[in-house]
């Protein structure tokens, strides 16, 4: 290009952004088969089993890999899409399965399927993948252990298409745990060939996908953009959309503007206020699914500090401004957890029998700490959009009782460290367990094994007995009794006050259909439709 041509081109281009865009027709055909999703941040790896994988990596595992089983889809009441039930499994890579007569193993028959490399999926690949998940350490191994899958010896490849899992104990969570985004099936031959000597090909799988799933990763620019393209050879019926572009857009205002202007098709993770506004405006579709097994809560340290006195914990539960929290912090995007009547049920989460009643709260504080107390409440700066208004409301509500609360906001990297110290008197936080059983939630949050999620450091041997009983019993009546038992204890002892069950919100154009919600909370590209 000579100087004159360059100058002419530049002059033309300076005016270009203010003219109608060219080639619009050519692009529109591609657009009809492409979904543009904007999100706060994208995957930091392609390997959900690897250490340090971030939340969006679940989406890679979900869409680019297959598991042995998946969950039955359940339509949402408002028709916005589907959620799931963990209590009914559907075949994915396993065509079918049979539990042994002694109830101590299960044998899977694999379907004819091909990896992206063209190699057939065999039982050897399944074994290698599950061996990897239980051996690699970190989150993957912890999640496998939650379903009593602990040792590689439990996984047996009988022949190319037959695979067996031996149980080390009967655990109702084992089968559902095979459908989460950890025990996905990896093309072991390809992974090992590229591993450079590492038995689990950690480095290679971090940057490459070797699955059999419905989508392949076309390009991945960490911190910027990930493009998925349909796997035309997938064993199941082809997804409707050919390409999925996910862009990482940090500013929620920009994400909202993109959606409202119609430039983005789907936006995940906006502040509750934006979802409430978008839902009210009605220009785009907002689908909210109550997060299964998830609540926003205010925990009180029952092992150290002022809240070791149960009367003070109950006082806080009576003083909590439940309605205001729902309106001001969550903008209605949640399910209330206050004012239960008629005793505990077997559901979780379920409302506690408290509502805002300052008289009762004052009476309890008078008994326990007539002189008043000064304390502090800890929350994560990364969740401040919701947690900070809650903390302010809690501070306001407790001040008239003589409980003076200081706010302690810490950035994400420090928050986990603070939780691990287990000395914060009050914490505002949210928790959601992937496996939707009350005993699973209680095991992490209230059991005497005192995991990092037992933020209240609650210790109660009676409750431990009930939790352990519920986890491993096969008897329905005994299970129900145990669940009601530990829920009743939690309601009476209030180590945490449940504030609300949050909605997992997703905003999308009205032309977008087929939204599917899974435990990992990442959108399922296989199900989306457009137009």
């Amino acid at each position: 290009m000579d100087r004159r041509a360059f100058l002419a081109a530049s002059a033309g281009t300076l005016a270009a952004p203010f003219l109608a865009p060219g080639k619009a027709e050519a692009q529109s055909a591609a657009r009809a088969e492409t979904l543009l999703l904007v999100q706060e941040y994208g995957p930091n790896s392609m390997d959900m089993q690897g250490i340090g994988a971030s939340q969006p990596v679940n989406g890679v595992a979900l869409n680019c890999y297959d598991r042995l089983v998946s969950y039955k889809k359940v339509p949402l009441p408002d028709g916005g899409g589907n959620t799931f039930t963990l209590h009914e499994l559907e075949p994915e890579l396993a065509e079918g399965w049979q539990e042994a007569s002694d109830g101590m193993s299960v044998t899977f028959k694999l379907r004819e399927a091909k990896f992206h490399s063209g190699r057939p999926v065999t039982a050897k690949d399944v074994k290698w993948s599950l061996d990897r998940a239980v051996s690699i350490g970190g989150f993957a191994t912890t999640q496998m252990n939650a379903g009593s899958m602990e040792k590689p010896e439990q996984f047996v490849a009988l022949d190319d298409k037959t695979f067996r899992i031996d149980f080390i104990r009967r655990d109702k969570l084992l089968m559902p745990n095979l459908g989460v985004t950890i025990p996905y099936v990896i093309d072991s031959t390809t992974a090992i060939a590229n591993s450079g000597g590492d038995p689990w090909a950690k480095e290679w799988l971090k940057n490459n996908v070797a699955g059999s799933g419905a989508f392949k990763v076309e390009s991945w620019k960490p911190g910027n953009e990930t493009i998925y393209v349909r796997n035309e050879e997938w064993w199941n019926s082809r997804p409707k959309l050919r390409r999925i572009i996910t862009r990482d857009i940090a500013s929620p205002s920009t994400r909202r503007a993109l959606l409202e202007r119609g430039d983005a098709d789907v936006s995940a993770l906006l502040p509750p206020k934006d979802f409430a506004d978008l839902a009210a405006a009605g220009k785009v579709k907002v689908v909210g699914v109550p997060v299964p097994n998830g609540i926003w809560y205010c925990a009180m340290n029952s092992a150290t500090g002022p809240f070791t006195d149960v009367r003070l914990r109950q006082a806080v539960a009576w003083a909590m401004p439940y309605d205001k929290i729902m309106q001001v912090a969550l903008f209605g995007r949640g399910v209330t957890m206050a004012g239960a009547q008629g005793g505990p049920t077997t559901a979780w989460p379920q409302p506690f029998p408290y509502n805002t009643n300052l008289e009762k709260a004052k009476e309890l504080v008078q008994q326990a700490a007539p002189g008043g107390i000064t304390t502090s409440v800890l929350f994560d700066a990364g969740q401040a959009t919701v947690a900070e208004p809650i903390a302010v409301l809690v501070k306001e509500a407790l001040a008239p009782l003589g409980i003076n609360v200081e706010l302690n906001k810490v950035p994400g990297a420090n928050f986990r460290g603070e939780l691990a110290k287990k000395n914060s008197p009050m914490v505002i936080n949210r928790f959601a367990g992937w496996l939707d059983w009350p005993d699973y939630y209680f095991f992490w949050n209230f059991h005497g094994s005192n995991s990092i999620f037992n933020v209240a450091s609650y210790q109660n041997q009676e409750m431990d007995k009930l939790i352990d009983g519920a986890r491993f019993t096969g008897d329905k009546a005994a299970y129900d009794a145990a669940v009601k038992g530990f829920v009743a204890m939690a309601q009476d002892q209030v180590p945490v006050v449940p504030l609300a069950q949050p909605l997992h919100d997703m905003a999308m154009q009205k032309s977008i259909g087929g939204y599917q919600f899974w435990p990992c909370r990442e959108p399922d590209f296989r199900a989306f439709t457009k137009g």
């Binding site: 270009a16 250490i51 989150f139 620019k221 911190g223 910027n224 953009e225």
Partner: protein, 336 residues
């Protein structure tokens, strides 16, 4: 000239060494445990310890430093935990985006600020002087994220003149073949007019936002140093000698007034390069500022160290470049 460059680079070495030590120590002193952060939501203490060992964080500080220096000597800046990629690759991918944006923003700012400042100095107290004052006050007092969001709201959301603030290129376009990493240059080299237009359209709004911010100090300095130059003896002499106004202003006053403007320009440039985080966030610009801030929030040491080091090197080179420019603008500076 070459000797000047070599000696200047030589004196920069101690400062670089200082930067290396300070960034290493700073990132270690910062609160927060990267191992706990990256162990994920249901990590056991053993899992956290395992990650800590993997990151080498269980070693004594001196051993960590020795390891860091060794890696540095091999050009290895470590691996970012937030993106999972080598820091050098991340920075190489993102630096051109930041530089392209900053350069264009600065170009726009200079093209507006210098004439504005010169005119304001020539016509003191006139409407253009007031305009200059208004623009500089607005530029300094409006926070960048506010101007950015306002620009997005008006030009994209309401008017629809500007393309979607989706980063450097529309999602449905492909990047030009990489030569310099600057999309404008690369697409022009490839002769791809459509990509050039698209990239420029994406660039314009964030660049203007930056320019509004950078304009203020430049216009103020131009005006002030122009006033000083215009009241200097040599200008009076030139006028008395009957030279025409144009020659006096442009050749004598302006050239002498340029030195402080150049200094400010250098400072504004290096400041903008790292500090336009907010513009990058609003426009989803895959630049280096937001990269460093995100790493800092996650206690991700390697990118923060890499960022500070690269910025220090850039700053040193930039200062050198500005000093060499002095010599061109004002031959008297060559000796110093």
């Amino acid at each position: 000239m070459l000797r000047t460059i070599a000696s200047r680079l030589g004196t920069a070495l101690p400062s670089l060494a200082g930067v290396v030590v300070v960034t290493f120590l700073l990132t270690r002193v910062l609160p927060g445990d990267p191992a706990a952060y990256f162990a994920g939501p249901v990590a056991s203490p053993e899992a956290i310890a395992q990650i800590r060992a993997e990151l080498g964080l269980d070693q004594p500080l001196l051993a960590q430093f020795a390891r860091y220096l060794g890696d540095l000597a091999r050009g290895d800046l470590g691996v970012s935990l937030t993106t999972g990629q080598p820091v050098l690759a991340d920075i190489a991918a993102r630096l051109p985006a930041s530089i392209e944006l900053t350069l264009l923003g600065l170009l726009l700012a200079v093209c507006t600020a210098v004439p504005l400042g010169v005119l304001a100095a020539l016509r003191q107290g006139s409407w253009i002087d007031h305009l200059c004052r208004l623009v500089t006050t607005a530029g300094v007092s409006l926070p960048v994220f506010f101007t950015g969001l306002l620009a997005v709201y008006v030009f994209y959301f309401l008017l629809g003149w500007s393309p979607a603030p989706l980063g450097r290129l529309d999602s449905f376009m492909s990047e030009p073949a990489r030569v310099t990493g600057f999309f404008l240059v690369d697409s022009a080299l490839a002769g791809d007019g459509e990509t050039f237009r698209a990239a420029l359209a994406q660039l314009l709004l964030p660049a203007i936002t930056l320019a509004v911010f950078a304009l203020a100090p430049l216009a103020r300095i131009t005006r002030a140093s122009m006033l000083a130059a215009l009241s200097a003896d040599f200008v009076r002499t030139a006028r008395a000698s009957g030279l025409n106004g144009r020659t006096v202003v442009l050749r004598y006053a302006f050239r002498n007034a340029m030195l402080p403007v150049l200094t400010t320009l250098g400072m504004v440039f290096s400041f903008l390069l790292g500090a336009n985080v907010l513009v990058e966030k609003v426009f989803a610009w895959p630049g280096i500022g937001s990269y460093a801030v995100e790493a800092l929030i996650a206690s991700d040491f390697a990118p923060v160290q890499g960022f500070v080091l690269i910025m220090a090197i850039l700053y040193i080179l930039l200062n050198l470049f500005i000093d060499l420019l002095y010599g061109l603008v004002d031959p008297r500076m060559k000796e110093g």
